[in-house]
């Protein structure tokens, strides 16, 4: 181990590297959920979509040898789940939150069902760019070995932030999210917009799953997700439906998730499981801090059921 070089400095460095590594699925799921929620629906099923995406990506990568085809297949599978959620929620009295819970169950059930034969074989990894080659320290190199999907996610966050403000499509999504009646008055069918927003959101969430199985931790098994899909939903509320906020919050969550392994790498093993719970506790604390009775959340889409 090279940790003697850096001593305790290894901890913040490992957290930074871990934050970048761990945050990527959060970025994709939260950006996807931000699109869906901006249109006025909430899809709690992204957890199931993420797990199914992880399985699809891994299976396709094993069968074709190409991780990028895996990512593509995952996003297609995610879009299918999203279309299903979007379609079924347009019926009166069908509750989007409850359907999300059911999709969570069905998505992970289907993933485990079809994923069984793929637990053993190993799939090719997604490529990463070694930004740390300038350094001699293997820890710095490890921390700055950044996956391409992280960079795509960062670019996507900036693009979505711009697009919500400046494009026609962004305006339409925001109008539908704020008032179904206003949208209808403009000649827009809110159900169609929500259908597409949910499909795109789910496709992104499935890419987050592909990252899990194809890069970090880089294997497929039934414990692949530890609730990233669900935490991302809470994260979107914290980020006030702002894509740039989603990106920042995802990094924060990634850092919290990397805390346990980072401390373990310098020999702190006491309370490992409690550090493991850090992202959940952080999410909960943030939700408590940012929610408030009696007033609507600033920036919340008007028809979103979760903030009422």
């Amino acid at each position: 181990m090279e940790q003697t070089d850096l001593g305790l400095w290894g901890v913040p460095l490992a957290i930074l590297g871990g934050a970048i590594r761990v945050s990527t699925p959060f970025i994709f799921v939260s950006l996807g959920e931000a699109i869906t929620e901006r249109s006025g629906r909430i899809n709690l099923g992204l957890e199931g979509v993420l797990v199914f995406g992880a399985m699809t990506a891994y299976a396709v990568a094993v069968l074709t040898g190409s991780p990028w085809l895996g990512v593509l297949a995952a996003s297609a599978s995610g879009a299918c789940f999203g279309l299903f959620h979007g379609w079924i929620c347009k019926f009166p009295k069908v509750n989007d939150i409850a359907i999300g819970i059911a999709l969570m169950l069905l998505g992970s059930g289907l993933a485990f069902f079809f994923g069984k034969p793929f637990i053993q074989p190993s799939a090719p990894d997604l490529p990463a760019i070694p930004f740390g080659l300038w350094s001699n320290s293997s820890q710095v190199q490890a921390a700055l070995n950044i996956n391409i999907l992280f960079l795509i996610g960062a670019a996507l966050a900036v693009f979505l932030w711009w697009a919500f403000k400046n494009t026609r499509a962004g305006l339409i999504v925001r109008v539908v999210g704020d008032s179904s009646d206003a949208a209808r008055a403009m000649g827009i069918n809110p159900n169609t917009v929500r259908l597409l927003a949910t499909a795109i959101g789910s496709a992104l969430a499935a890419i987050g799953g592909a990252y899990l199985s194809l890069y970090y931790p880089g294997s497929w098994n039934e414990g692949i997700s530890s609730g990233q899909g669900l935490m991302a939903v809470a994260l979107v509320i914290f980020a006030r439906w702002n894509p740039l906020g989603c990106f920042a919050a995802a990094l924060l969550f990634g850092g919290a998730g990397a805390l346990g392994p980072a401390l373990q790498s310098v020999g702190v093993t006491q309370g490992y499981y409690l550090f493991y719970a850090a992202p959940y506790i952080l999410t909960l604390l943030i939700m408590i801090a940012t929610s408030s009775p009696g007033r609507a959340l600033a920036g919340a889409p008007g028809v979103l059921s979760i903030t009422k």
Partner: protein, 373 residues
């Protein structure tokens, strides 16, 4: 579809007594027929899924029947699995009365189990009945505090209860792992970290004449108590008003906050009791097997029963049976163990979709069957 019948048709069918009976039946049939139909449609969709995989749905349902209900042995197995499901489903159904969707029952089960196991070690050597009661109290308090906190956060801080309860389930499982592998660990448990084995006197045994532990009876009693609470007491009535419209309930002077926290705490206490029963009747100590998904299946049970505590009893037995047949499906048909989860997911979706039909089917409209005035 929403159009109401143009005139009473019952008069042409028979006498006024028959018409009265039909009117009465139509009023009540909706809540029974729609979920049953949804269940059948869900199973049909699953049959198609199985057929697409080249397996026989007939064989599958035959095995499911035999594994779940076909013999006295399998019925007992089913009932044992139904016991925690009854309590886990109440953890969803009670808050649902107030319009809350609490899905983190798994956390209360896990913590209830750990608390009960810790209590068992603490009071080792006490008389059996007192030991069991103290374990039950410990489990119920741990679960009640956990889900009660979800309710308090909901009411006083407006934190969404669906997300917070699930987050707290993850935290509870991490806390259990920490306690079971750390402070509460029995050094003798090497391969599977566990708490110290409890005093054998505290083991909750079988109901006489059956190989099913008393947890089943506890679950059924809890369902009946919950039904009485919801349907026959003023608290249940107040909860229904608050579930319909919080503002209206507050205008009426109802203490909505204590109502929400109380219902959530009771719901969590039932789930915690399920954890205690898992420890005292099945595991003998607390270990990672406590988080085996009863909390999540309980969500499905509650929705399938439309949050009616009495309906939870047959539904929990049905799903316990499906659960029990999982092993048989794996061995005989070479299906993955997730098969049961896929079936549950499909049924769940169809059940939620069926909500859209309530009040829209003419055949359930009592006016259609009314006798002419």
């Amino acid at each position: 579809m929403t159009e109401i019948a143009s005139g009473p048709v019952a008069s042409t069918l028979g006498g006024p007594a028959l018409a009265g009976a039909l009117e009465w039946a139509a009023r009540r049939a909706e809540g029974l027929v729609i979920p049953l139909a949804a269940l059948i449609v869900g199973m049909a969709l699953f049959s198609i899924f199985i057929m697409l995989l080249g397996k026989s749905p007939a064989q599958l349902f035959d095995l499911m029947w035999r594994g779940g209900f076909g013999s006295w042995f399998s019925v007992q197995n089913t009932l044992s699995r139904a016991a925690p499901l009854l309590l886990a489903a109440l953890c969803v159904a009670l808050p649902a009365r107030l319009g809350l969707v609490v899905i983190g029952g798994e956390g209360a089960i896990v913590l209830g189990g750990v608390a009960a196991a810790a209590m068992a070690v603490l009071v080792q050597g006490a008389p059996a009945l007192i030991g069991v009661i103290l374990m039950g109290i410990a489990g119920a308090v741990a679960g009640g505090v956990w889900i009660g906190a979800v309710g308090a956060l909901r009411h006083y801080r407006a934190v969404n209860e669906t997300i917070s309860s699930l987050l707290m389930a993850y935290i509870a499982i991490a806390l259990m792992n920490h306690l079971v592998e750390g402070p509460l660990r029995d050094p003798a448990s090497l391969n599977k970290p566990s708490t110290h084995p409890m005093d054998p006197a505290f083991v909750v045994g079988a109901v006489p004449g059956m190989d099913v532990h008393w947890g089943l009876v506890a679950g059924i009693i809890a369902c009946v108590i919950s039904w009485i609470l919801i349907e026959k007491t003023r608290w249940g009535f107040a909860a229904r008003i608050a579930g319909g419209n919080v503002r209206a309930a507050q205008v009426q002077g109802l203490a909505v906050g204590p109502l929400i926290v109380g219902f959530c705490a009771l719901a969590g206490a039932f789930a915690g009791l399920a954890g205690m029963i898992e420890v005292a009747a099945v595991q003998g100590n607390a270990n990672a097997s406590l988080a085996s998904g009863y909390g999540y299946t309980g969500i499905l049970v509650a929705f399938l029963a439309r949050h009616n505590p009495l309906a939870i009893i047959p539904v929990a037995i049905l799903l316990g049976g499906i659960d029990a047949s999982g092993g048989l499906l794996q061995r005989r048909m070479d299906l993955p163990d997730a098969t049961v989860q896929v079936l549950q997911g499909m049924i769940f979706i169809v059940i939620l979709f069926s909500e859209t039909f309530y009040g829209r089917l003419r055949v359930f409209n009592p006016d259609l069957w009314k006798r002419p005035a």
